[in-house]
């Protein structure tokens, strides 16, 4: 995806030493955008593993539809992050600047950051997604629970992000929340169906909670770039959403006859690049083609 010729021209006259691994991150907005994008990309990659393997055709289609939405949202965030990283004039929290990307264009200048380079050429430590989204699919119940815990969080996050003083972030959230409300509805219905289903499905949901709950605390512990962007009015003060999230999850769990675990030690680190061992394997598969055949394209 290319934005404008002027970006490329400017890039060529700038410091040639910069590459993707060079410090791209100056303000809090760039890691924040990557965090938002990475959550979507990694969960999409995980859900995509179900393609062709869903328990029944309709639900196979449902989970891959959700995957497509997540991927689309990831692209929106990556495209915007790439624009900022390529040095488009950008000020916070100044007057709103129009954001007009070009729809299509594949030529890539040397060293230019693109949505693809952000997805395919960053290392594990540079990914800022939540630990939750990189956890293995497990059985259908575990996949459903992971989706529900995340979608409920993402719904509340986008609700607030719609108020961002950054026009593009607000637009991505306003677009995305329509899709996420479908994800919340679908996944919570499944949590209830399985939790309040058979003895077997109930037991599996308990196991899924046991596997995943420890990764939920991280969502509401703000890291430096979240604090910074929230302070600037661009990002969301994520710690304020914890109670609303717990209340919503509590309602669904109650109907699903599932307990909210107490006194669980919460794992953190994903938002700052310290991941569980699973992310490396995900990236190995995701990035294999670009790593093996650099700049290969369709």
């Amino acid at each position: 995806m290319q934005y404008s010729d002027s970006i490329i021209n400017k890039k060529e006259t700038e410091d040639k030493g910069s590459s993707l691994t060079a410090p791209l991150i100056s303000g809090g907005e760039r890691p924040y955008l990557l965090h938002l994008a990475d959550n979507n990309l990694i969960l999409a990659q995980r859900n995509g593993e179900w393609c062709g393997h869903g328990p029944i055709l309709e639900q196979d289609i449902a989970i891959t539809n959700i995957t497509l939405d997540l991927l689309g949202q990831a692209r929106n965030f990556y495209q915007y992050a790439a624009l900022l990283m390529n040095g488009e004039s950008y000020k916070l929290p100044g007057p709103k600047a129009p954001f007009i990307p070009k729809a299509k264009g594949m030529e890539r200048a040397v060293g230019e950051v693109t949505e693809d380079s952000l997805a395919y050429l960053r290392t594990e430590r540079e990914f800022k997604n939540l630990l939750l989204v990189e956890q293995p699919n497990g059985d259908w119940g575990q996949t459903i629970l992971r989706q529900y815990l995340f979608s409920q969080y993402q719904y509340l996050l986008y609700q607030q992000l719609q108020q961002s003083n950054n026009e593009q972030l607000a637009a991505i959230a306003t677009k995305g929340i329509k899709e996420v409300s479908y994800h919340v509805r679908w996944s919570s219905e499944w949590v209830i169906r399985l939790g309040d289903g058979t003895r077997e499905s109930h037991a599996r949901m308990l196991k899924a909670i046991d596997e995943l709950w420890r990764y939920t605390g991280e969502m509401f512990v703000a890291v430096s770039y979240e604090i910074q962007t929230a302070g600037e009015g661009m990002g969301v003060d994520i710690s304020l959403l914890k109670n609303a999230w717990l209340a919503k999850v509590g309602e669904v769990f109650q109907e699903a006859t599932l307990p909210i675990p107490e006194n669980v030690f919460m794992q953190t680190g994903g938002k700052e690049g310290t991941h569980t061992e699973h992310l490396g394997y995900i990236l190995a598969e995701l990035q294999y083609m670009q790593r093996t055949y650099p700049n290969a394209s369709w």
């Binding site: 639900q59 007009i100 899709e179 479908y182």
Partner: protein, 177 residues
């Protein structure tokens, strides 16, 4: 023809300006996944601008991950270039977010004739409550309202699967969004 609206339909298009001529040409560009709908029927064309040395068509995606968008922008360029326009640029903007309310009435008729139930107006029946079924989805084949949701997700992101309880025929419903 208004040029500063959120979207443009050609329900009552009278060709007065160069922009209108271009819009008329865009009626030939279809949604690749629902080929009976033009991009104007779908309500994804925001604006047409004639800049000094280029034509700019501004569109908006239906869903964030709609895989048809790249093909649509390619087809817009192709359609205009075929009619002698040079330097065609397609710009995609997100805000305000697309809604099925922007679909033209003609588009809804075409959908129905194609066997897809058209979206209900969003302010009436878009219901996000758990297990709630959107009421009154009309079977595009026998016109019965006695229909049942099979799955919230269908062959594309924008559709859900329904079945008519009277004629028993399964059909796609273009979800209100």
């Amino acid at each position: 023809m208004a040029t500063n609206t959120n979207h443009i339909n050609t329900n009552n298009l009278v060709i007065k300006t160069e922009e209108d001529t271009i819009l008329k040409l865009l009626e030939e560009v279809c949604d690749p996944e629902v080929p009976v709908l033009s991009i104007l029927d779908l309500g994804i064309v925001r604006n047409v601008k004639i800049n000094e040395d280029e034509i700019e068509v501004i569109i908006t995606p239906t869903y964030s991950g709609c895989p048809a968008m790249d093909m649509i922008s390619g087809n817009i360029k192709l359609a205009l270039i075929e009619h002698g326009y040079k330097n065609v640029k397609v710009t995609s903007i997100l805000s305000p977010a697309w809604t099925t309310d922007w679909m033209s009435e003609a588009g809804k008729e075409k959908l129905k004739a194609f066997g897809i139930a058209p979206p209900n107006p969003t302010q009436i029946v878009c219901d996000t409550r758990l297990f709630a079924e959107s009421e009154a989805i009309q079977c595009p084949l026998c016109n019965s309202y006695h229909t049942k949701l099979i799955s919230r997700f269908g062959s594309t992101a924008c559709k859900a699967m329904y079945q008519c309880q009277d004629c028993k025929e399964p059909f796609d419903y273009f979800k209100c969004h």
